[in-house]
Every structure is written in C-alpha cells, then in structure tokens.
Amino acid sequence: MGGVGVRGFGWRHAGRRAWAVRGVDLRVERGERVLLLGSSGAGKSTLLAALAGLLPEDSGEQEGTVEVDGVDPRADRERVGIVFQDPETQLVMARCGDDVAFGLENRGVPADEIWPRVDEALRRVGFPYHRDRPTAALSGGEQQRLALAGALALRPGLLLLDEPTANLDPAGAALVRRAVADAMDGDTTLILVEHRVAEALPLVDRVVVLEPGGGVRADGPPEAVFAAHGDALAADGVWVPGRTVAPRHAGAAPGDLLISADRVALPPRLAPIDLAVRAGEALAVLGPNGAGKSTLALLLGGLLRPGTGRVAATGELAGRDARTPPCRWRAPALASRIGSVFQDPEHQFVTGTVFDELALGPRRTGQPETAVRAIVDGLLDRLHLAALARANPYTLSGGEARRLSVATALATAPRLLVCDEPTFGQDRRTWLELVDLFAELRDAGHGVVTVTHDPDFVAALADRRITVTREPSAATT
C-alpha cells in the first residue's frame, strides 16, 4: 500500500493566474521515505494536498493525474494520512482521545476496537496525557503530536507531513521527529516537507526537489543529490546540509537605551522577567514552548498591559511620551515607534492585498505616495513577493505569509522592532534576505528583538540572548 504515481501534474488555485505547481512527474514506491524540498512558494503544500485528495475540483484547475495505489485519492481517502503545518486547525474534538477516535468513527471501525487503537496511537507518539485532556489545554508541540496520532491511528499506507516541526522548540521538534521515526514501519510510505534538511535527513532515504517554475529539479538518495547539485540547490534556496552562513554581528557598540522591562509579569502566562534593549543591538529571546515568549513580545510591543512590573520607554524612543508606558500610547504613535510582528502571520493582516498591506504603515505615517511606492516595491522585491502584489494576503503559502508580515513591520522602519518567530518556514534564500534586512536596521541604530526557536538565526544575528523560563528568574548571557 501507499505507492504514489504523479503524471504531468499541475494545479492553479482559483483566483490566481500563475500555476502553484506544474509539470510534476513522480513515482514513489511503497515503503519509501521521501523528503520533498523546494523554495518557498514552489508548491510543496499544494502537491501534498493533491496527494491527500484535498484539492476540490471547485477550488482550482488541474492538469495531469495523481494516483495513490492506482486510484484517485479524491475518490478514496482511506489510504492517506496527512498532518498540516498548523495543528490548531486540524483538531476537531474538544478532548484529545475523542479527536484521535474521530477518524476511526468516520471509517466505521467497530466500537470496541476504537479505544485500544486510540491508546496505541497516543502511545506511539509519546503523548503524555490522559485521553480526557482538553485539546485547548495543549501547547503547540503537544497539538502537533496529537495531530500525528490522529493520522497514525488510521494506519495510512501513505503518510504526508507538512513542516510538522515548525514553531516547536528544539526539544519538542526532536520528540516529534522521533515519534515519526518510531511510527514508520516497512509498509508505510512517507512524504515529508521540511525546509531544514539536516534535521529531517535521518528520517528519509530519498530527496525530491521541486523546481519553482515547474517540474522536478532533482531526485535521488540525499548524498547523491547534494553532491551533484549542491551549489545550484543552495543558490535556489535549499538548505543544503553542511553550508554555513557568515554571521552578521553588530560592528559598533550598542547605543542609548530604548526600552526596559522591570520585573514584568502576566500570570499565568509569563513569570517576572527583566530586560533592556538598546539602539543598534539585536536581542534574541529563547525558551521552550509555552514559556511566555510571545506574551513578552506583546508586552514589549505595548499591546498588552503588564500584570505586575513595568515596561518603560526612554526619551530616545518615545520623545515626550516617555513618562507613559507604551501600552497607554495612542495607536499611531505606537506604530511609528515600535513595530510588532505576531507569531501567527495572519493575525497581522488588516487589508485585502499584499500591496495595501505593505503600504498601510507608510501611508499612516504621512509619507507621500511616491515614497510609499518606493518602499513597498523595494520590500516586495527583496522578499520575493513582487509577483504576489495583488494577491490576497490570506492565500499566500506559509513562508510567503511570514515574509509579508515581517515586511509590514519593516515598512515603517520603527526605532524598535519586536518580531515573534520571524524566520519560520523560510527557504535559505529568503532566510538570508531577512537576516540581512534585520542586520541593516540594527546597524542603522534600531533596536531589534526577535523571539525565535531558530538556532541558525541566533548564531547569525543575535548580539545578546535571553532565555524565558516558566520559573520566575531569567538567565541572560
């Protein structure tokens, strides 16, 4: 079970002129484990959706054929299990056990077999709680594991995973990867999408690289593919293992203090913490899932009121407003001084097109239209979004949406930039571009705070790091 045959496949989403993916020919034999690579927007997620039979005819236009075990997956989904990038939207039921049981009920599995299979699936992914636990009480990593259990319980012949460890802390990501490794038996075919190749390689025995313009660029055992095409792939944006990036640390010593947090806490989301950000420095905020990093980012961004302690901006950042805390500033003043990038990019968007989204900030700060155009075009170009200027922000691929949300904050060049996971889902090329943009801002005397799980990003950019823990003390280095 689980053999895949794709012939001349192409898909164009309704409302788009460009093909999301085109001219793909691919055979995967039963039991193979494939890592599917390609630059951001190359159509990886679209191809996985097609394999799972989840591209309804009324949502776009198709070329060629897709078959799983010789049948159209749209007609028969029994064979395929899929875990999407965002676990929260794929949990259906209010209790964890019920959620795993959901698929079994749908397949008509006899009632007395359901709970043993649920328990087995939860055990295989190392799920730590009882099955009565509410799904709403899970951290991101736990949700990811639960979604995996929901797919595994169905014993699919073909398992499709779309960036299953995005947004997880390194320990959580390792747990999910181990769960996948343990769950694979000789009969299950795996197709995995993951930008960070090095971590994913132990799970796979074959690499397939999609060409952004269409077709398959390279296909074969990992060592052979990277030996033959390493340079070209790296230039294209693939994270070819073993290629490091040159760090971009600050050239000058940090300048004046911009903002400081003094024993700031918001129970139960964040334990008390101290922090200070200066002009011209890049601070990385690290810590496990659920430690309160995003909460801290919102507090620094003047978007949440602290429970205890205080956030104070200096005159350097706030001018005459320095006496009031940022959470009490009027919104236009706030937006011109502190730029915030939310963890979920879609939370950031307030307009209907990519262009307007980028133009909103500069327009609000009163720039003339020609200057607005110049700023927007520059960002579109650098972040490889130019072809999408008229697209709706919510139809972007995962990586594109992330870049757009970062770009909206960059557009007004605020003195302080607070970004939550700015690099997830990026290919190597867009990742480097983002690092450069942050480095330029920092070198121009802005303060940059980034919450991140990405060790490469910390190594490349951060001048200083701080770790948030659940315990009421913070370790700074």
């Binding site: 959901f102 079994l104 008509g108 706030l334 939370h347």
Partner: protein
C-alpha cells in the same frame, strides 16, 4: 474568558442524565409555564427549580453568577411595564405623566418577572451541566439527529474560546498597525464593526480549513459511522422528562385551584 465548559460537579445524580433528556425536560417544563401570566405558578416553579439544584450539582453561588443577566432582564421588564402596561386596574400608587403605577401594574410586573426567571432557569441549569460533546453524541444516538450536522456544529463550538482569543489578537494587530478609536464613540463603533468583520472572515477561513482536515480523516466518505462514546437513554431519563412535565403541571394546577391562573391566549 469566553467558555462553554460545564460548571457543575460532574457526578451529581441529575447532571449525569442523558443530555437529550435534560434538554427535553427543560423545554417541557419551560413551555408549560409559558402558558400562564399569573405570579403563582412561576413562583412555585422557581421554588422547585431551586430545590432540585443540588441534584444537578450546581452551587447556588455559581448559579447566581451564571444567571446574573437574568436579573437585569427582570429589572428591565418591570421598568418597561411601568411605562407600557396594558392593564391599569387597581389602586393608583404613583401618577406622574406617562408613569402610572397601580397595584395591578405591580402585580403584573411581579408575575412577568417571576415568569421570565422560572422559564429561563431550567435552560441555564441544563446547559450549565451539559458538555457539548455529550449533547452532540446524545442528539445523534438518542434523538436521531443527522450525524454530519451534529458533529459539524460541535467542531465549530470548539472554536468558541479560540475565537475569543482571536478577538483580542485582532484588536492588538490593529493597534500595532496604528489603528485605534480613542474616545470618540462613532470611531469606536467603526472599529468594533471592522474588528467583528475581521473575526468573521478569520472564522470562516478557519472553518474551511477545518472542513478540509475533517475530510482528510474520512468525515464525508459515505462509510457508515460508528460511535466511540455510547450515550444511553435509560428509564431514569424518561422519568426525568415525565417528572418535569408533572411538576410544571402541578404548578399550573395549584394556580388554577387558587383562582390565580391567567392563560396566555384568551
């Protein structure tokens, strides 16, 4: 925070009854009471409701918090009636222009307020003790509700607390992008509308993705579904409904016997 979790101690004897039976009992009880406008029957019914509360495992303090909007509603009824009562019989107590308060008006107001409380409380009690998942299961298994619709609605209910958080995120995102309303009520109204619109758009988008995820796990594959959680309708559940009907009937009977009964129609 917005939440649809039950608030009762789960083991209580009546809280454990089949959800369909509980809803049916509440509806039977409430609708019998709707038939009259006098204060006697609702007063008796309220007494009954408060007396069975411990059997549902709800503490009085918790109920008071859950039912707080009801009390506001009762105040509203009295105020409106003072201005717009149909019947101004009885001794005149206050006469000041449009405000004409007579003993008849006060009696009617009392009756209406009691009636509103008595009719609404069973619903509050039932939904405070019922888990949405159990309700959907029971609707499918005991009331022959179509499974696809019950489960679809249930999946959407799971989004309630998430959408509550989403509301806050959208408000923050607007602020971060330089959009706020200050003290101007009109601007606040506009901001409210635009936030609500964004919430609705986000909710529909989530719904569409959720539907895809459900299909991916074979939701609409046409295979007959099995059930993992059995809900049974026992004799005790039938008794609960019968009991509710009998108690409501008894309250009406007492009011008729005392000559207080005033039918809604006629």
């Amino acid at each position: 925070m917005i939440s649809i979790e039950p608030v009762a101690t789960p083991g209580a004897p009546l809280a454990r009854r089949n959800p369909v039976a509980k809803v049916a009992a509440a509806l039977v009880f409430s609708f019998t009471l709707l038939a009259t406008l006098d204060p006697v029957a609702p007063a008796i019914a309220l007494g009954v409701e408060l007396a069975v509360l411990p059997l549902f495992g709800i503490r009085y303090r918790v109920l008071a918090r859950r039912a707080a909007p009801l009390l506001l509603g009762a105040v509203g009824i009295v105020a409106t009636l003072v201005l717009f009562a149909a019947d101004h019989s009885g001794r005149v107590l206050v006469d000041a222009g449009p405000v004409l308060i007579t003993s008849g008006v006060l009696l009617t107001a009392l009756g209406l307020a009691l009636r509103m409380l008595a009719v609404a409380l069973p619903g509050v009690i039932v939904f405070a003790t019922t888990d949405p998942t159990d309700l959907a299961d029971a609707l499918i298994q005991n009331a022959k509700a179509p499974a696809r619709f019950a489960i679809g609605a249930l999946a959407a209910f799971r989004l309630v607390p998430l959408l509550g958080q989403e509301w806050q995120m959208i408000s923050m995102a607007r602020r971060a992008r330089g959009v706020d309303a200050g003290r101007n009520p009109l601007a606040r109204m506009r901001l409210f509308v635009s936030t609500a619109f964004a919430l609705l758009v986000g909710a529909i988008r989530r719904g569409a993705r959720l539907a895809v995820a459900m299909d991916a796990r074979g939701f609409d594959a046409g295979t007959p579904r099995t059930v993992a959680r059995r809900q049974r309708f026992r004799a005790a559940d039938g008794l609960l409904i019968a009991g509710a009907a009998a108690l409501a009937g008894a309250a009406l009977a007492v009011s008729i016997a005392l000559g207080a009964f005033r039918p809604l129609i006629g």
